[in-house]
Amino acid sequence: MVVNSVHWFRKGLRLHDNPALQEALNGADTVRCVYILDPWFAGSVNVGVNRWRFLLESLEDLDTSLRKLNSRLFVVRGQPTDVFPRLFKEWNVTRLTFEYDSEPYGKERDAAIIKMAQEYGVDTVVRNTHTLYNPDRIIEMNNHSPPLTFKRFQAIVNRLELPRKPLPTITQEQMARCHTQISDNHDDRYGVPSLEELGFRTQGDSSHVWKGGETEALERLNKHLDRKAWVANFERPRITAQSLFASPTGLSPYLRFGCLSCRVFYYNLRELYMKLRRRSSPPLSLFGQLLWREFFYTAGTNNPNFDRMEGNPICVQIPWDHNPEALAKWAEGRTGFPWIDAIMTQLRQEGWIHHLARHAVACFLTRGDLWISWESGMKVFEELLLDADWSVNAGSWMWLSCSAFFQQFFHCYCPVGFGRRTDPSGDYIRRYIPKLKDYPNRYIYEPWNAPESVQKAANCIVGVDYPKPMINHAESSRLNIERMKQVYQQLSHYRGLSLLASVPTIQEEAEPPMSDDSQASSSTTGQPSSPTPTGSTPPNSEPSTPNTSPTDGAPGAHAQRKRVRPSGFPSKQKSKVKHTIEAKGVEQKTDEKQ
């Protein structure tokens, strides 16, 4: 029987360590490598030009590599659900292969495609390679729920066997066995589109820092390992001013798009370590970057609301402010804090910022200064950040805003001091905010404190040429610490996790018996209840809204609290102890301590 394979590229844009692609080639008569892209959609989704460029370069690189193997990449315009039925028929497809996508949206999309393939009599083969471990396996080992602390996650990984070994790259011979017919008008029909075709104007921004593609990824991997071998130091490198700039050995965007296999990275690191240290096995800390990624993938795989606060069971409900104006200032680098503005400018221009810089701007936007929801920040990163994976992006934002994963929250990054510690000279700021380049080091992190003469000499008057600070950091961090404390004190299981919450207050009758009852209820009274004796219900009090159930008001804490409360019945016992979802995580935490 004839086997006509299609390998569907989404992430995993590489020929090395690509088991699903190997499956496509295995015994096939023809094989076509496909990428599906909707040019009309491109302009409308929230993805910035740098990310598109990176993607297109990666596709170009794939196409170039495939040409060397006498094949081509087919970039098909459209939506997967429309495209596949057409392709199945036109190419008489019998086998469809792709890499497993663990994210909820991806799983849903793939389930639909698999079903469709079945209807067309097409076999589907799916292989998991975007993560080292199968997230479902880790969840299973953690009693069927994702680990919510990194420590716990590490403990489970420690019990697992090593990740599977990577596969070699596709060879000429393999490809030769399954010829692909390339039509003369291939470039017209299936060529990699240009940024202009996707609706981006690309005048003048030629010097971009991160070049997409597998070829570049592998070169960087070699440099990365060379450098490690040269310094022979596997501790986490100390952060210097230089760390803030894009490095030619940075790999995160390549892991995000799958231009580099995480397993290849893993095993290369491991081998290098063992060669240099002659120790039997490297510590987990060697793979920190990879494991954090796995951690967030695992936490997000079964949680479609992982990227929002509402309806997200692991996310603490925090009364963030809506403030579009302040959000815009942050996103566009107009906060008046050079350290924050420089980072946001670098992000916009280059698509990558150091992880400490991410911490700085995320803290500033959320719990540190502006008290704006992490969801807004996450969306900006999604647009601009080359390595923004859905799970990792949302997970990191929750982490940094103290919305989940049990971080201590006492520590806010100072938008002045934090940068100065990392780069006392301020050269990083001068690079991204040239307006401030003539400020002396002393004032470059806080130009508003510079005397007028200094501002004049530097040709940059604060309030005219560069914005005044949008917020008084001392005041806002005081307020925000207090708010965080308020939120966390309601989740009494956190007690002891945060230092500030342990600062006592008097317990007097000020805490009446049913305090949390009224809290829970009034927060769900968005729908009017109709406690009228006569039955004369206020307008629109239709009780026919079953969703007025307490569960949908404040999905985390309130609903949970109520589930548990009725059990005890010791009526006067202070309901200070409020059970919440997070209890689970805390249990885990205590587990670890035993």
Binding site: D321, H355, R478, I506, P533, A583
Partner: protein, 480 residues
């Protein structure tokens, strides 16, 4: 026995009935036959199960298993009785209804109130309206839902005289703060015991016209006469309104929180301390703290103070702070030997001049911004009562000697958190060894610890765990 089919492991039976019955919008009367009630009950049950599932996949620990069994057993027997037609739900004694209603969220109580006249009366029992939290949010400025205006009207109309423990959670919009004041000014016939005005985002009360806010607040002060707890941080409260507070509530006031109230003067707060001898907890900004205030709080007529919280915030760089005499602090400690002094510092490094020169009885110390090595050195010398220390940031020089001195001198220290600081691994191990098991909280960012020739990052958690007597790890940040 435990595996009842209906075993939604939470929410009692009563809740299910109450919560769902009105879905059919039956007019309220007592004609409901047991049969129709049962019918409704079952429907309600189903829907409730669904709800439970929704929240259930992520549930925390449910009630303990025996508890569930007990409840279900109770429920089962009720069911049986009902099947026999022996129980008339409408005839439940009021005390029992009250007991049950206390555990129902307001919304469910509201649904239940439509079942029959008896339940409707129970709904309005004063006991159920003593405590209320108004949540005032605007869709444009908050992600959270608000208390419905109709409900607010109802409460003011029917239950304002029952209210005793009231709080307002207000988002960042002026409208919400305005609405809170409107409600306050209508609380004329009630006697509140506690009142909290809580800004959940930006402090919106500050944006109101001061007079408007003051007149609403004084309505409560004048009418209550027995306020024991008042939380009015970040509001435009002023000296005259505090006088009104004192004139009406001086015998009962125990707790007063008013951090960042810029319209209050040291004299204004002194008047409170002079008159309210039962005050046990006080929170204010440093600029209101004076020697006189401390002496007033330690006067013989005054009860022991339990907590004093001071926020030290600089409004403008280079601000000069006054100092407090050691003798005043001594008087405080003599009068209230066990009181907690909680101090939050949000200062620039060069503003610490007047602080930690003499002994200060601080117990909880939080440095929100960078604090110099020198100041931390002084902390070790001047804070013998220190229990908890948080240092968010420090310069680039390791804090070795400072920490060791603190371990040496601060014999009560049981919690410490270090953010952007540096400590050598050896000094840190030494610190932990000196403090030992009494360090119940130790939050140290991994980056803080600098490996030296004795300990690397891989060994330190063993060494520290050994001295603590429990497993300990430094806190990690995601490398993203």
């Amino acid at each position: 026995m435990c595996e009842s089919e209906e075993g939604a492991p939470s929410g009692g039976r009563t809740r299910n009935i109450g919560a769902r019955a009105p879905a059919e919008a039956t007019p309220i009367n007592s004609e409901s036959t047991p049969a129709s009630l049962r019918h409704r009950m079952k429907r309600g049950q189903k829907r409730d199960d669904k709800v439970e599932e929704g929240g259930g996949s992520v549930s925390g620990p449910g009630p303990g298993a025996p508890e569930v069994c007990k409840r279900l057993r109770r429920a089962d027997s009720e069911e049986q009785q009902q099947e026999d037609g022996e129980v008339d739900w409408g005839q439940l004694p009021e005390e029992i209804l009250l007991q049950i209603f206390q555990y129902l969220p307001l919304l469910d109580r509201a649904f239940a109130s439509q079942v029959c006249r008896g339940w409707n009366q129970a709904f309005h029992m004063p006991e159920l309206w003593r405590c209320f939290e108004f949540e005032l949010n605007q869709p444009a400025s908050s992600y959270l839902k608000a208390t419905h205006p109709d409900l607010i009207k109802q409460i003011i109309k029917r239950h304002s005289n029952h209210l005793q423990y009231v709080s307002f959670k207000v988002d960042s919009s002026t409208e919400s703060a305005e609405a809170a004041c409107d409600i306050l000014s209508q609380l004329v016939n009630c006697s509140l015991k506690t009142l909290g005005l809580i800004s959940t985002a930006r402090p919106s009360f500050m944006e109101l016209p001061k007079s408007h806010f003051i007149s609403a607040l004084t309505v409560v002060f004048v009418n209550s006469k027995s306020l024991s707890s008042l939380k009015i941080d970040d509001t435009p409260v002023d000296d005259p309104s505090l006088k009104v507070l004192v004139a009406n509530n001086s015998d009962t006031l125990k707790l007063l929180k008013m951090s960042s109230c810029p319209h209050v003067s040291p004299a204004g707060i002194l008047c409170v301390a002079d008159q309210c001898h039962g005050l046990r907890e006080l929170a204010l900004n440093y600029h209101l703290l004076s020697d006189d205030l401390l002496l007033a709080l330690s006067s013989e007529r005054h009860v022991h103070l339990e907590h004093l919280r001071i926020d030290v915030v600089s409004e403008n760089p280079g601000q000069q702070f006054h100092s407090i005499k050691k003798s005043s602090w001594d008087a405080m400690v003599r009068h209230s030997p066990k009181f907690n002094l909680v101090m939050y510092f949000f200062l620039y490094e060069d503003e610490f001049g007047p602080f930690f020169r003499d002994e200060v009885p601080v117990t909880h110390l939080y440095f929100g911004r960078s604090v110099s090595k020198e100041v931390l050195g002084r902390v070790g010398l001047t804070c013998p009562r220190l229990v908890e220390l948080v240092v968010c940031a420090n310069g680039l020089r390791p804090l070795d000697e400072e920490l060791i001195r603190i371990a040496e001198r601060c014999k009560q220290l049981s919690a410490i958190g270090l953010g952007e600081c540096e400590v050598s691994c050896s000094a840190f191990v030494e610190f932990v060894k000196m403090c030992g098991g009494r360090l119940s909280q130790l939050s140290i960012m991994e980056e803080v610890l600098v490996p030296d020739n004795k300990y690397g990052l891989d060994d330190i958690h063993w060494e520290v765990s050994k001295h603590l007597g429990r497993v300990w790890f430094p806190d990690m940040m995601p490398t993203w």
